[in-house]
Each structure stands twice: as structure tokens, then as C-alpha cells.
């Protein structure tokens, strides 16, 4: 999942809304504020030769412009009802480097989504770094914004275990809340070349790894009452400083938990001037990752829905010929629209075809 430009625009848009609310007139803006892009000078760039180390790289990389801790979960109630949960913490730096206090250049943004078969809830938070309102800490691992938390539960874990193996996840909004425990049943998975993931033919890239093997269990606080759930979850970690190519208009990203224990991650970056850029990772049940490019994988829209006044492809055909995979993805709830400062579609899907299973679909730029 690549999102630099998107996230930059989201931050920028969110801040613009705030600023306009605060009375920043268009005229004032026209006086030539230094753009966010030009201020970005001095940020670090992803390095193909860098070896990721843990727990260090679970933490923030303030030298990079953008970073996230992105968790999605496919859950099921005791009655078989399907639910989806999203918990995301973005870090977006106005300038490189960490700093204590109110003048920290680090901006943190939280997104929360909860999808039921007939409803979709979302929430958003923003905070600055440096004062403790939001951030990521190590030993023990802790990512948070306000009361939204993703924290490591260390008790009883073997010493060689990864810091992210046991997590507790919680969030609340004015309408819903959730509290989940996550247990990893497999290793961390590195995308691209040992976690160096290329995003375009021009060579834009990010550092990208995942923990796709979580078993999830917990409670959803819905408007109708609490619901106990179990299921699977997937954590993405990614950081970078580069925007997408100018001509790339959006992307479609999937993460699938297949019944046989294998996992599939794929993204499709749409290009106004040419064919989309496709990339993915096949993850065997034991965690062995195989990168996939161009002809190895195909994603084709199969059906659309009208969501928030837009036409969004909520059904897809996904093919991986080398894996004998030809499946159809269908949104559990086509209305999973994240109507936030930057709006996008993100929700659980059901997998059918040569393989069955569950997964998450994210689509931007529609």
C-alpha cells in the first residue's frame, strides 16, 4: 500500500480546513506561503540497502516525511455476522526531525473505521507530536493518538518474540468503540526487496513490511450494544518521503486471508497516461514471501456501486496464474466510505472462486 501523495494531500487538506476555519482567507493564502512540498527538503529517502532492525523500525522515523501503522481486521460475531475494523495512525512531518514541546513539526492523524453488513462508522483525530498527545514509543511498543491505542502486551511472551506479536487495540468515536487483542501466528513479512517496495516505473519507493498473521478477538461497542467477535487481522508498516508520480491518480489495494493459510497483498496504481502499475506479495502459510510484478498478477473491476455520489468498483476479479488463483472479491458493505478530510473507500471483502477467504479492500482517487 503506497500513499505518500495521498497522505500528504490528506494532511494538507485537513490543515487547510483548520486554517480556513481559523480565518485564513484565500487572500492571505495567495500571499505565497511556502508550499508543503518545498518545505519537505531535508527529508531522508528510502534506501534499498538498508536492513530493517527490530524493535527499532517498529518505531517512528521522523527523518522521513510520512509513515503509518495501518491495521485492518476481518471479524465474525457468534451469530456469523461479518464485521470489519480499521485502525490507522499516520505520521506526517512538516519538517524533518523530532522535537519536544508544542513546536514539534510532527503531525499525527488517526483514522478509525468499523463496518457492519448494514452500517459503516468512521472517526478521525489529529494531534501534534512533542507533547505526548500522540506518538509511537518502543519497549514496550505503544502507538497512540488521544485514547486510541495499539499497545504491546508483553506478559507471557517468549523472549525471542517480536514486539508486535501481542497487541491490544482500542478506539472510540461518539457512536462506536472497539477493544481487540491480537496474537501473531507467523513472522513479519517484507515486501519488495527485503522491505524496499517500488511504487512506480520512475523508481519511487518506500520501506514496507507487514504482520499479516494475527488472530483477533475482542468486543465491538455498537449503537445497538456490545458484540463479541473473533477473526484475523493484518498490520502494515510503511514509511517514505516521496510522492507518487504526477500522473498516478489513485490506487486499489487488497490484503487477503485465504482459507488455506496463505495471504496475498496486491496494489494497483492507476496512471492517467498509461496502464496501471501492479505489484504484490504472495505469502505462504509459513510466512515465505514472494514478490509479484506485472504479469504475475491481475486486478480487474467487476462491478460498481454508487457511494457518496461517486461510482466505486466494489467487486473485483483477482488473478495470479502462477498460484492457480482466480477469485472474485465482493464488498461486505459497499457503503464503506471514509468521509474524512481526505475521503476514500476502505472495507472488508469476501473472497470466492478458486480460493475462499476474507480480506480488506482500499480504494482512493474515485
Amino acid at each position: 500500500m503506497n500513499a505518500e501523495r495521498w497522505i500528504l494531500r490528506a494532511v494538507r487538506r485537513a490543515l487547510t480546513v483548520c486554517a480556513l476555519v481559523a480565518g485564513l482567507a484565500a487572500g492571505a493564502a495567495a500571499q505565497g506561503f511556502a508550499g508543503l512540498g518545498t518545505e519537505a527538503e531535508g527529508f531522508a529517502l528510502p534506501d534499498p540497502d538498508r536492513t530493517l532492525e527490530f524493535p527499532r523500525d517498529h518505531g517512528a522515523h521522523p527523518a522521513f516525511r510520512i509513515e503509518w501503522w495501518y491495521l485492518t481486521a476481518n471479524l465474525e460475531g457468534a451469530d456469523g455476522r461479518q464485521y470489519g475494523v480499521q485502525w490507522t495512525l499516520f505520521r506526517s512531518a512538516l519538517a524533518p526531525g523530532a522535537k519536544e514541546g508544542w513546536t514539534s513539526p510532527q503531525v499525527w492523524i488517526g483514522h478509525v473505521g468499523l463496518t457492519t453488513p448494514d452500517a459503516h462508522f468512521h472517526g478521525e483525530r489529529m494531534a501534534r507530536g512533542g507533547i505526548g498527545q500522540a506518538g509511537v514509543a518502543l519497549d514496550p511498543f505503544r502507538a497512540w493518538i488521544d485514547e486510541w491505542e495499539m499497545t504491546a502486551e508483553g506478559q507471557g511472551a517468549p523472549p525471542e518474540a517480536d514486539a508486535l506479536d501481542r497487541l491490544r487495540l482500542s478506539a472510540t468515536t461518539p457512536r462506536i468503540g472497539y477493544d481487540l487483542t491480537l496474537r501473531a501466528e507467523g513472522p513479519l513479512v517484507f515486501h519488495g526487496r527485503d522491505g524496499y517496495s517500488v511504487k512506480s516505473e520512475d523508481g519511487q519507493a518506500s520501506h514496507y513490511y507487514s504482520q499479516p498473521f494475527y488472530r483477533a478477538e475482542g468486543t465491538l461497542a455498537l449503537p445497538g450494544g456490545d458484540v463479541g467477535v473473533t477473526g484475523r487481522a493484518w498490520l502494515d508498516r510503511e514509511w517514505s518521503s516521496q510522492p507518487l508520480s504526477e500522473s498516478q491518480s489513485g490506487w486499489d489495494w487488497i490484503s487477503l486471508h485465504l482459507e488455506d493459510g496463505a495471504k496475498l497483498m496486491a496494489f494497483r496504481l492507476r496512471d492517467r497516461d498509461g496502464p496501471p502499475f501492479l505489484s504484490g506479495t504472495w505469502i505462504a502459510p509459513d510466512g515465505t514471501a514472494t514478490p509479484m510484478h506485472g504479469p504475475d498478477i491481475a486486478m480487474t473491476p467487476r462491478g460498481t456501486a454508487r457511494v457518496a455520489g461517486r461510482t466505486v468498483p466494489v467487486a473485483w476479479r483477482v488473478e495470479a496464474p502462477a498460484r492457480d488463483l482466480d477469485v472474485t472479491l465482493r464488498a461486505r458493505n459497499p457503503d464503506a466510505w471514509m468521509d474524512l478530510n481526505f475521503a476514500y473507500w476502505e472495507g472488508p471483502v469476501a473472497v470466492s472462486g478458486t480460493h475462499t477467504g476474507a480480506g480488506y479492500l482500499e480504494m482512493t482517487g474515485y
Binding site: 494538507r12 490543515l15 487547510t16 480546513v17 483548520c18 486554517a19 480556513l20 476555519v21 481559523a22 480565518g23 485564513l24 482567507a25 484565500a26 487572500g27 492571505a28 493564502a29 495567495a30 500571499q31 506561503f33 511556502a34 508550499g35 508543503l36 518545505e39 512538516l94 519538517a95 514541546g101 508544542w102 513546536t103 513539526p105 503531525v107 489529529m126 494531534a127 501534534r128 507533547i131 505526548g132 498527545q133 497512540w144 488521544d146 485514547e147 472510540t172 468515536t173 461518539p174 457512536r175 462506536i176 468503540g177 461497542a221
Partner: protein, 804 residues
């Protein structure tokens, strides 16, 4: 058919241009005063909205700490517990002696949308604002602050949506600019909160929840003031509407034969009504338009005074600049049209029911029946009873104003029957046919003049009421001033050297040299002037304290105590024993509350030694001198010669008192101006009533003339009659005005200012007002009377002409 009918209907105005002028003028004046007040109020409200709205200050609750600033840790603790709160830091900068408020906010947690401001389509880069490199300010403020060369100031970008006198910036930048790292003045509580949160008392027991719109919100503070103005505006409008009612009624009455003829000639009733309504609407729009222009001018003239009052009374920043806002213009136009329709309702109703063939009984419209007088009187009595009941049972500001409304309207309705009774008494006492006719005719005049006289009653009562309130206040204030201005001489020096020379010169000549100085601080979120007071028996003996802790003067002197004035006490709820932090690094206890009449602001007094220690750099340039009473003039001369202090810089007690009174009077200038305007409109109502009634009067006067009274004598009697009616009205207005004053002092004033003042009566003012009323009535009646005196016999003879 429509065109000739309309032509015939409108031709009336060509024949009666005076009536047309009266109608338009009356409506225009009514609209003008009403919309002037509305314009002022909306300007002020817009200013408050700019100050408070963008931070959600007026719609959202907030958390404050009575014990000092809120820490960043508390803020983070609340956020981490799921409380959606947004920090605001407020502080002051002094630029050329003017206070500039610095407001620091966290743009990331600001309640977006809570502001109710448009986001617009500007695609600016907000990062510099968020990073504190840029601050926003109203254009005028931005220029003033830029020129002052303050170090560490972010780049200022002018913005129309920031309140005047305020710099809006990121809280991080505000921390650095104000030198108050990590401090938070208050936390705004967002409207939508997450489902599960720990209780506030557990998380931050020291924080106090302030309801939306309470506390520091100028909207709340100034509500009563604006309500006051609005009530005045409505009163003026009502007075103006009396004129409109009178002229429309007359115009319709005079056109009754025409309407009848038009209908007889085949104009359907519906068409007639439509035409008449269209005519009225056109007139209303014309007059309303003129009224809006006049209103704008009046508002522009009054606004600086209002702004001064608001700043002084409530610390609310309102720019003296009036902007045209569609809101009040539309409201003014609506009032003009609505008022016209209300005033015309009766006339329209009668026109609608006008039979095509009626007995040719031209009965003057002005001749109302006695029964109507009495039913009107009953309604008035009922309203007065309501007012009486409210004064016993009611409470609160709105009730107070309802009381005032019921009182005034009831009195107005009761006026004609009471006048009728008075005139009947006069008639019984009259000897001789002329006297008898004089009173009998006065009786007959009452219905025709009643609207104008009711207007006069309202204006006079308002004048007496508000005048009594202000004057009571003034007398109390002057008495208090005499008590407090204990020193004989007051000197202002230019620099420290002169101050030294002064001290040396006065050594041995003056019993005490007491510096007078103040520093601006902040108590309970509001700017407060903190005065330095030397420890001297002058103060210990003369300074009136309403409430005091034991040893208050000693604690003031040693720097552990502070005195606050009654206004601050009332507004902040702080009392003796509470701790405050007027400046960083000093947290004294309140040891006393002093009465401070006439000073509309919250103020405090600190010990001279403590204040000097806190602000060593502030030069003391004003001194109060205790010198022997006998030779202040001689000492004054010697002082100017010996120290080089210019004579103008030395003032005595009387001059200081005069200056204080000037400040006081300015505060109530707006009230006075509106008073005069309302009285003027009432006088105009009488004039117009006379002018329009003059044509009706002729048939009533001609026989008397024919029977042997000279025109001159008739004219004199006409003036005398009007003056008599006005005099009765004025006399009746007195008790109404005094009741009004009581309601203002005992109900409204307590809510608005926080003092209940002893009511005092000023018979001389009444005499002056009575004189004014006589003069207004005489002047108003003089014009028509002069015309009567000079009227050719031919005009009288027309009355007797057979071919009518």
C-alpha cells in the same frame, strides 16, 4: 381600468402633499431609529462572533482552572482519556499603550465546523500557520502591531475574520511570544464526545466546567446592554408608527367618497384593495429606503460612543467602523413594511367593508366614540395590572423588559380616557361660553390627537425614566467621588528627573506624595487594570470597602493581598479569600472589595511596593499630593516655578472630579442621544397630527368664527388647547416615568451593571422636561394656528357654501 383608478387614488397625495410628507417622514424616522439600533447591535455581535465564534467560544462549553493556568500535562491527560478538548492560551501584549490580545490555539484539535465559518475555496498552505511562522490579525490591528517592532512576533497576515485587537496564532508560537511555555488558559470542550470516557472529576479535579456562552463570552455580558438598545429602538419605532397610523387613517378617511365613487363606477372591491395595498407597499418601500439611509447615518454617528461604552463596561472589543450588513437592512425594511401594514390594517378593513351606497354622513374620522375610549382604557388598565404583577412575582432580565413594555403600553392606552376625564373636569370648572367651548372642543380633539399624545407620553416617560436612572447613578457616583478624591492636588510629571525635583520640592510642604499608576493584568480571563496604592492613612481612612478581610490594609501593603472592585467581584464571582493571578509569578489573595461607581471596568488595587517590585521599569508619573487645604493655589504656583512642571499638569480635586464626570457622561451619551431623538419624533407626531387635522378642524371652527370670535383668538385657543393637552400628558408621564425608573434601577440595572442604586428624584429635571413638552406642543401647534390666524374669510365661507 386600473390605470385611471390608480391615478384617482394617487391624486389624493398631489392634493395633500403635506400628508404624504408626514407619512413618509414618520415611517422613515421610525425605520431610521429602529435600524440604527439594529445596525449597532449587529455590528457589535459580528465583532463578538469574530472574537469567540472561531474558537467555538460561544457555542461550546469550556474548562478553566480557578487556580491558575492549565498545564499541557492536564490537556494531554484529558485527550488520552477520550475527552475531546482543544487548548486556548490568551494573553496580552502592550503596543503603544494599547492592549493587544494574543490568542493561541491548536489548529489540529480546534473544533472544525464548530466555528460556523465558511471554509471557502482558498488552497493556501497552512503549514506556516501551524508551525507558528504566521499569525492572523484584523487588518488595522496587523498594521498597528507590525509597526511596534515586537521581537519574536510571527509574520502577520491580515484576516477579516479575526476580531479587532487580537492576534490569532498557533499555541506554540503564543507560548514563546508571551513567555508562558506550556500554559493553557482554557480548554474548549467539543460538542461531540466519544462513547466511553472517565469522569472529569477523576481526571482533573481542579478544572471547572463553564457552560457555553458564560464567563468570558462578551455576547452574554453585553446582552443586557444590547437588549436595552433594542428596547429603545422598538420604542422609537412605536412612536414613529403612531405618526404613520394617524396619517394613513386620515388619508383613507378623506378618500372614502372617492373609494365609494370608484366602486359605484364599477371597480371591483378586490381591485380597489389591491391598488390601495400596492400604494401602501410602494410608500413603505420608499420610506423604508430613506429610513435605512438615515439609520445608517445615525448608527455611524453613534457607534464610536457605543464602542467606547462596550469597551469600558465589558472589555468587549468593537471597532468603531460601521459596515453595511444585509441582515439589519432587511430587518429594517421588514419593519417598515410590516409597520405600515399594521398601521393601515384598520383603514384597510374599513375600506373592505365600505358599502357602495352609504348615507351621506361625512363623519370625521377623528371623532372617535366615547365607548372606544373606555374599552381602550380597560385594556390599558389590564396591562398595568400585568406590570404590577410582574414587578412582584417576576425575576430576570427578560421579565424586566416585559414589565417595562406592559407598563409603557398600558399607560399609553390609558392616556386618552384619563385625558378625557381631566378635560371634563376643566369643562365643569369653565365659566363663560368660550371657556366651555374650549374644553368641549378639547374633548372632541382627544381621539384625533391621541396617537400623537400617546407617542408624547411614551417619549416623556422614557425620558423621565432613563433620565432618573442615569441621574440617580450620577448623584451616587458624585458623592462617592467626593469621598474618594481625598488628595488636594494631582500632578503629572514628564520624566523621572522631574519626579525627583517634585519630591524634593514637596519635602516638608506636603504631608504625603502618593503615586498613582496602573498596570494591566488579567483576572478571571478578563483584562483588569491593577492600580498601585501607597500605604498611607489617606487611603486607609477614606477608601470605602464593601467587604474586607481582617487586616486588609496591612496585607495589601505587604503584598500578600489585593483589592478588587465591586464590578469585578460581581462579574467574576470572586470574593474575599479567593486567590487570583493578575500577573505571572504573583498570586495574592483578595482581601477586600471596594465600591467603584462610575468606573465601568473591572479593576484591582495592589500594594505599591509589590507592584513596583513586579514592574520596576514602569515610570510613575502621576502623584496625588496631600497638602494643607488653605493654600493649594499658592503651592501650585510655587510648584510649577520650582520644578518646571507645566501649570496644566497640576490639577486640583475639582478638575479631577470634572474629568471623572466627563467619562461617566460619555458612558451614557448613547442613552441621552436616543432619548432626545425619541422626544423629537414625538414632537413631530404632534406637529403632523395638527397639520393633518387642520383641514378637519375648519368646519368646526368656522361657525365659532361666524358667531363672533376673531381668527387670532381662535388661533390662540388652538395653541392653548394643544399645550393644555400636552401638559396633562406630561403630568401623567411623570408617574409613568418614575415607575419606569424604578423598574430600570431595581430590575434591569441590577442585571446589566450589577449595582442596585438608590433612586433619587429630580424635580428640576421634570420642570425642564415639562417645559420642553410645552414648547414642543406649542411649536407643533403654532404652525397650523398661524395659518388659521391668517386664513382669508373666504376659506371659512367655503364651509357655509351651499353648493358642497
Amino acid at each position: 381600468m386600473t390605470a385611471p383608478a390608480l391615478g384617482a387614488i394617487l391624486s389624493h397625495w398631489r392634493r395633500a402633499p403635506g400628508q404624504l410628507a408626514a407619512l413618509v417622514l414618520g415611517l422613515a424616522l421610525a425605520t431610521a431609529l429602529w435600524s440604527a439600533v439594529q445596525a449597532i447591535n449587529s455590528e457589535a455581535r459580528a465583532n463578538y462572533a469574530r472574537a469567540a465564534g472561531m474558537l467555538g467560544g460561544s457555542q461550546l462549553a469550556s474548562l478553566t482552572a480557578p487556580t491558575g493556568p492549565i498545564s499541557t500535562e492536564t490537556f494531554v491527560r484529558l485527550r488520552r482519556a477520550g475527552w475531546l478538548v482543544s487548548p486556548v492560551l490568551e494573553g496580552d501584549l502592550r503596543v503603544d499603550g494599547r492592549r493587544i490580545t494574543v490568542t493561541g490555539v491548536d489548529f489540529l484539535t480546534l473544533p472544525s465546523g464548530g466555528a460556523g465559518l465558511q471554509t471557502g475555496s482558498g488552497e493556501g498552505d497552512p503549514a506556516p500557520l501551524l508551525r507558528g511562522a504566521v499569525a492572523l490579525a484584523a487588518p488595522g490591528t496587523a498594521e498597528a502591531v507590525r509597526g511596534a517592532g515586537i521581537t519574536g512576533l510571527p509574520r502577520l497576515v491580515p484576516s477579516q475574520t479575526v476580531a479587532p485587537g487580537t492576534l490569532l496564532m498557533d499555541i506554540g508560537a503564543a507560548h514563546e511570544l508571551l513567555g508562558r511555555p506550556g500554559e493553557i488558559t482554557r480548554l474548549t470542550v467539543l460538542a461531540d464526545q466519544p462513547v466511553r470516557r472517565a469522569p472529569l472529576e477523576e481526571l482533573a479535579p481542579n478544572l471547572r466546567r463553564v457552560a457555553p456562552g458564560a464567563g468570558m463570552d462578551p455576547v452574554q455580558l453585553t446582552r443586557s446592554f444590547h437588549l436595552n438598545l433594542a428596547a429603545f429602538g422598538l420604542l422609537s419605532f412605536a412612536v414613529g408608527l403612531f405618526i404613520v397610523y394617524g396619517t394613513i387613517g386620515l388619508a383613507f378617511e378623506q378618500r372614502r367618497p372617492l373609494f365609494r365613487t370608484l366602486r359605484a363606477l364599477g371597480l371591483p372591491l378586490r381591485s380597489l384593495l389591491t391598488l390601495v395595498l400596492a400604494e401602501l407597499l410602494a410608500l413603505a418601500l420608499l420610506a423604508g429606503g430613506i429610513g435605512l439611509v438615515l439609520g445608517y447615518l445615525v448608527a455611524a454617528a453613534l457607534l464610536p460612543d457605543v464602542a467606547a461604552t462596550l469597551r469600558g463596561l465589558y472589555g468587549a472589543e468593537v471597532s468603531g467602523q460601521l459596515t453595511f450588513r444585509p441582515g439589519w437592512a432587511a430587518a429594517g425594511m421588514g419593519m417598515a413594511v410590516g409597520g405600515t401594514l399594521v398601521a393601515a390594517a384598520q383603514a384597510l378593513w374599513r375600506t373592505a367593508r365600505l358599502p357602495v351606497l352609504a348615507a351621506a354622513h361625512p363623519r370625521a374620522w377623528a371623532l372617535g366614540t366615547v365607548r372606544r375610549l373606555w374599552s381602550q382604557g380597560a385594556a390599558g388598565g389590564a396591562l398595568l395590572a400585568t406590570a404590577a404583577a410582574l414587578s412582584v412575582a417576576g425575576s430576570g432580565l427578560i421579565t424586566g423588559f416585559v414589565l417595562l413594555g406592559a407598563l409603557l403600553l398600558g399607560a399609553a392606552l390609558l392616556l386618552p380616557p384619563v385625558l378625557s376625564l381631566l378635560v371634563a373636569v376643566g369643562r365643569r370648572a369653565a365659566r363663560g361660553p368660550v371657556g366651555q367651548w374650549f374644553w368641549a372642543d378639547a374633548q372632541q380633539q382627544i381621539p384625533g390627537l391621541s396617537m400623537a399624545l400617546m407617542a408624547l407620553l411614551l417619549a416623556l416617560a422614557a425620558n423621565v425614566g432613563v433620565g432618573t436612572m442615569v441621574a440617580s447613578f450620577r448623584v451616587t457616583f458624585l458623592g462617592w467621588l467626593d469621598q474618594r478624591l481625598a488628595a488636594e492636588l494631582y500632578v503629572t510629571v514628564q520624566d523621572a528627573a522631574q519626579a525627583d525635583r517634585l519630591r524634593r520640592f514637596l519635602d516638608g510642604r506636603a504631608r504625603a506624595v502618593l503615586p498613582i499608576w496602573e498596570v494591566e493584568g488579567r483576572i478571571a480571563g478578563r483584562p483588569v487594570a491593577v492600580n498601585g496604592m501607597a500605604d498611607d492613612r489617606t487611603f486607609r481612612e477614606n477608601w470605602p470597602l464593601l467587604d474586607a478581610a481582617p487586616g486588609a490594609w496591612d496585607r495589601l501593603a505587604d503584598g500578600t493581598g489585593i483589592l478588587i472592585n465591586e464590578q469585578l467581584h460581581y462579574r467574576s464571582g470572586l470574593g474575599v479569600g479567593d486567590r487570583v493571578a493578575p500577573f505571572d509569578g504573583w498570586r495574592p489573595e483578595i482581601v477586600g472589595i471596594y465600591s467603584d461607581y462610575g468606573n465601568p471596568r473591572g479593576e484591582a488595587i495592589a500594594g505599591n511596593a509589590k507592584l513596583t517590585a513586579l514592574f520596576p521599569a514602569v515610570e510613575k508619573t502621576r502623584f496625588a499630593l496631600r497638602v494643607p487645604q488653605r493654600d493649594t493655589d499658592g503651592l501650585r504656583r510655587a510648584l510649577t516655578e520650582a520644578t518646571g512642571v507645566p501649570a496644566a499638569a497640576v490639577t486640583d480635586r475639582a478638575a479631577v472630579k470634572a474629568a471623572s464626570v466627563r467619562v461617566f457622561d460619555r458612558t451614557f451619551a448613547v442613552t441621552g442621544a436616543l432619548n432626545i431623538l425619541t422626544l423629537g419624533v414625538a414632537a413631530l407626531a404632534i406637529l403632523i397630527a395638527h397639520a393633518t387635522l387642520a383641514a378637519l378642524r375648519l368646519p368646526q371652527l368656522a361657525p365659532v368664527w361666524a358667531l363672533g370670535l376673531t381668527r387670532r383668538r381662535l388661533a390662540r385657543l388652538e395653541v392653548a388647547r394643544t399645550v393644555a393637552l400636552a401638559a396633562f400628558t406630561a403630568v401623567l408621564a411623570l408617574p409613568v416615568g418614575l415607575l419606569l425608573a424604578w423598574a430600570l434601577l431595581a430590575v434591569v440595572n441590577v442585571q446589566a451593571f450589577g449595582w442596585r442604586l438608590p433612586m433619587q428624584v429630580f424635580p428640576l429635571d421634570w420642570l425642564r422636561l415639562l417645559g420642553l413638552a410645552f414648547m414642543a406642543a406649542a411649536l407643533a401647534a403654532a404652525g397650523p394656528a398661524r395659518r388659521l390666524a391668517r386664513m382669508t374669510p373666504a376659506r371659512f365661507l367655503e364651509v357655509f357654501a351651499n353648493e358642497r
